[in-house]
């Protein structure tokens, strides 16, 4: 590590230089604008024009972002506020135009959520899922991206091969997984009497890990792509310097690649946690609605069962709020951990 320090310093210097250039450009633009605006308002002539220009740009900018702001407000903010409202009322969905009381119940729905053993099981399941899925996703996608970034034969084919499961519908992939891991599936036929009993997808100890492996495999291509993009920004000269310093491929990977893609790692980490915590389709499709004794029930699947199947949207809303808080906390912790080395 000691030998590589000069190279790291060189990178830092380059960043500082780029930053200085940007600052200079910003200063020049600001000076010109200030002169124009000043002429219109009794200030310096350039100052007033600058203010007009900035206002015009602001209006154009606002116009451009309007559709997205509307989209966010309608599709995200309004439902979010509505969810919070539902979670503190006794509420169920009714036919339009009919009046039904929705009395304020304070934190009663939250109390129900925290005392329901199935909710505890669902969060435990998600914890198991994340413990398997997130490290595997980060490690495998970085290693595969590094391999696919090298000049190897059939590189385009391998890149597409890893990406294919990600763009294939979950339903189709579930069929593949059932063919492999069904009680009468390919893997059990290979294992014979060594096959687990009950089988993989209905075994209360194996169902959740199987789902975690399935999701890791399905989503790997997306994360490989993220890392491949990040790897383009790691300077070749760093590898050359490391090579000159005598670092082998493994050493280069840990000393150059891993620190070089750290921002991407943070992104992958947080994205994997968020998508993992929102797990629904896989337990729904693979294990027939949550598996034995809720062995593969996820919080989102439970929200669906409580809110839609059983008609308790208030409970589901409270559970949704708790899930958002859970995701926020573990995402923040993951981010802190991943950026600790910076």
């Amino acid at each position: 590590m000691t030998k590589l320090r000069p190279t790291a310093t060189a990178t830092a210097t380059a960043t500082v230089t780029a930053g200085t250039t940007a600052t200079a450009a910003t200063t020049a633009t600001a000076a010109a604008s200030a002169g124009a605006a000043g002429r219109a308002s009794g200030r310096a002539p350039g100052e007033a024009a600058g203010i007009r220009h900035r206002r015009a740009r602001s209006r154009t900018g606002a116009l451009f972002v309007t559709p997205y702001v509307l989209f966010l407000a309608l599709v995200f903010a309004v439902p979010m506020v509505y969810t919070l409202w539902i979670s503190v009322h006794r509420f169920y969905f009714t036919a339009p135009g009919t009046h039904v009381d929705s009395p304020w119940v304070g934190l009663s729905n939250y109390r129900d959520v925290f005392t329901d053993p199935v909710v505890g099981r669902a969060f435990l399941n998600i914890a198991v899922f994340l413990l398997i899925n997130v490290p595997l996703t980060v490690i495998l996608s970085l290693v595969l991206a590094s391999a696919l970034n090298a000049k190897i034969r059939f590189r385009a084919f391998f890149r597409a091969a890893y990406y294919l499961p990600y763009i294939t519908a979950s339903v189709a992939l579930v069929a593949v997984w059932q063919f492999l891991f069904g009680s009468d599936g390919f893997v059990n036929n290979l294992l014979g009497s060594h096959a687990p009993d009950p089988s993989w997808l209905v075994n209360s100890h194996l169902a959740m890990p199987m789902i975690a492996f399935f999701v890791t495999w399905k989503q790997l291509g997306f994360f490989v792509m993220l890392y491949l993009a990040a790897l383009q920004n790691v300077g070749k000269e760093l590898y050359e310097a490391a090579s000159v310093d005598g670092a082998g491929r493994v050493r280069q990977f840990f000393a150059v690649t891993v620190p070089g893609v750290r921002p991407a790692t943070t992104l992958v980490l947080i994205y994997a946690i968020i998508t993992g915590a929102n797990l629904f389709s896989e337990p729904y499709l693979l294990t027939g609605g949550g598996g034995p004794d809720h062995a593969s029930t996820s919080p989102v699947l439970l929200m669906y069962q409580k809110g839609i199947e059983q008609g308790h949207p208030d409970f589901a809303a409270a559970l949704g709020v708790v899930l958002v808080a859970f995701v926020l906390v573990i995402s923040l912790v993951a981010r802190k951990l991943s950026e600790r080395g910076n």
Binding site: R55, S58, R59, A62, T66, V69, L70, A73, L74, A77, V78, Y92, F93, T94, A95, P96, G97, T98, V100, V118, A175, Q178, G182, S183, D184, P198, S199, L201, V202, S204, T287, G288, G289, G290, G291, P292, D293, H294, Q305, I308, E309, Q310, G311, H312
Partner: protein, 432 residues
């Protein structure tokens, strides 16, 4: 400026959302007497759709000013979910000819149903058509919110060819008692004639108990419902015997613990199925069928054996603006003549007494349905209690844990389920 723009956008968004949510509902008094075009929803069973279209065509021919449009229920995991969503959106059809009784309390709570008892001849028509079987379809307030339309009594359907392959007599199957059923199942599986003796879905959905436990419990208990007089009935000798029977089936791998991703009987993977008469038409091209009642511990005669009705009702929904037409159509669609056509087209049993004597030609022509018609006189419905879906889910959770996967004794599972359901009944209000 930016702040003002942001505020304007937020107000606009909220206004749009409120406008979108502000759905109009028909005026109750006006709608009750209004006539005009209506829409009806049918299940997606091919034979049922064919009957529905023919019935609607007959209606439209004689009522050109009250045009009826027939559609299949919108796609969803279950038709109940699709109906529930349509109630909330205010887009449900006037009539749905596939309403599960277990969901009726939920639909009522959503103010989604029109009480049929409010029509002047409502109660009289329903009771006259269905006879003694209709009372269990009344809701807690004593009104009918559903017209009990057809039953699909659950029986054991078996593949004669697979039985013969296993060396069993396909014309005289030994399936009346639990011990006979287990012995036959062992022969079927151990001989390699079929992967599974029987393959009901072992998954956790609340309604799956209607295909395994509930018919067995109805038979073993002599026709008890899951809940009677506000008390769960299944933590009883009959419930424990039925649970122990199924536990043996799963423990010995005679019934698989994993759901089959298709139709196991049609694919020749299972020798038997717990199904209603709809399956006869579905299987007739692939399977040489035989039908027997569900087994009991000691064996009972077919005429004394109860089962689950798997009934579907026709219900009128509150989004309907021309309810007089809808009520007239409902009576037309469930008339003796249309019931005969429905039976002929689908093989499903209209909710009428003495089906075999009422439609003798059909049963003479298709004798395999006679057993279902007899069974239809000895059926048990799901209890019409608030929180019905929660109750069935609580039962299913314990069932999968104890019976399907054997993670605790079946007696413990039933006791826990009974305790949970008692609490749910208290929370929702004692129905007795």
């Amino acid at each position: 400026m930016l702040r003002r723009t942001a505020y304007s956008l937020l107000v606009l968004a909220l206004a749009s959302a409120v406008t979108a949510c502000g759905r109009s509902a028909p005026d109750q008094q006006t709608a009750a007497n209004a006539r005009g075009p209506i829409t009806v929803w049918l299940s997606n069973n091919a034979q049922e759709v064919a009957w529905g279209e023919s019935m609607v065509a007959a209606w439209n021919k004689s009522h050109p000013d009250q045009h009826v449009t027939a559609q299949q229920i919108p796609a969803g995991k279950t038709s109940e979910e699709a109906i529930s969503a349509s109630i909330i959106a205010g887009t449900s059809a006037c009539l749905v000819f596939n309403t599960a009784p277990a969901s009726v309390p939920t639909f009522e709570k959503q103010n989604g149903l029109v009480p049929l008892s409010d029509f002047p001849d409502g109660d009289a028509y329903i009771q006259q058509r269905g006879g003694g079987l209709t009372d269990q379809y009344k809701s807690q307030d004593g009104k009918f919110y559903q017209l009990p339309w057809k039953s699909n009594p659950i029986m054991i359907l078996y593949n004669k060819k697979i039985f013969a392959k296993a060396g069993l007599d396909p014309e005289h199957p030994q399936l009346a008692t639990y011990s006979q059923f287990l012995k036959t199942s062992r022969t079927l599986v151990h001989s390699g004639a079929a992967k599974a003796a029987i393959w009901p879905a072992p998954s956790s959905e609340f309604f799956q108990s209607w295909n395994d436990f509930y018919p067995a419990f109805a038979a073993q208990s002599g026709g008890k419902q899951l809940i009677e007089d506000g008390e769960p009935q299944f933590d009883s000798p009959a419930g424990r015997q039925a649970a122990a029977f199924w536990r043996t089936m799963y423990a010995e791998k005679l019934a698989p613990q994993e759901a089959y991703p298709g139709d196991a009987v049609n694919d020749g993977r299972a020798a038997m199925a717990t199904v209603g008469p709809w399956a006869v038409a579905a299987y007739k091209d692939n399977v040489d069928l035989g039908v027997v009642p569900v087994p009991t511990a000691a064996g009972t005669s077919p005429d004394d054996t109860y089962s689950f009705s798997d009934e579907k009702s026709a219900a009128m929904f509150s989004a309907c603006r021309n309810r007089a037409t809808a009520w007239d159509l409902l009576k037309f669609a469930t008339s003796a003549q249309q019931d005969g056509k429905f039976l002929d087209a689908t093989g499903q049993m209209p909710m009428r007494e003495d089906l075999t004597s009422r439609y003798p030609d059909f049963f003479a022509k298709k004798p395999v349905y006679t057993a279902f018609a007899r069974q239809a006189q000895h059926v048990v419905e799901v209890p019409n209690v608030p929180g019905s879906v929660d109750i069935w889910q609580a039962f299913r959770d314990e069932w999968t844990k104890s019976v399907v996967f054997g993670e605790e004794p079946t007696g413990t599972g039933l006791r826990k389920a009974s305790d949970k359901i008692s609490k749910l009944l208290d929370e929702y209000g004692d129905p007795s």
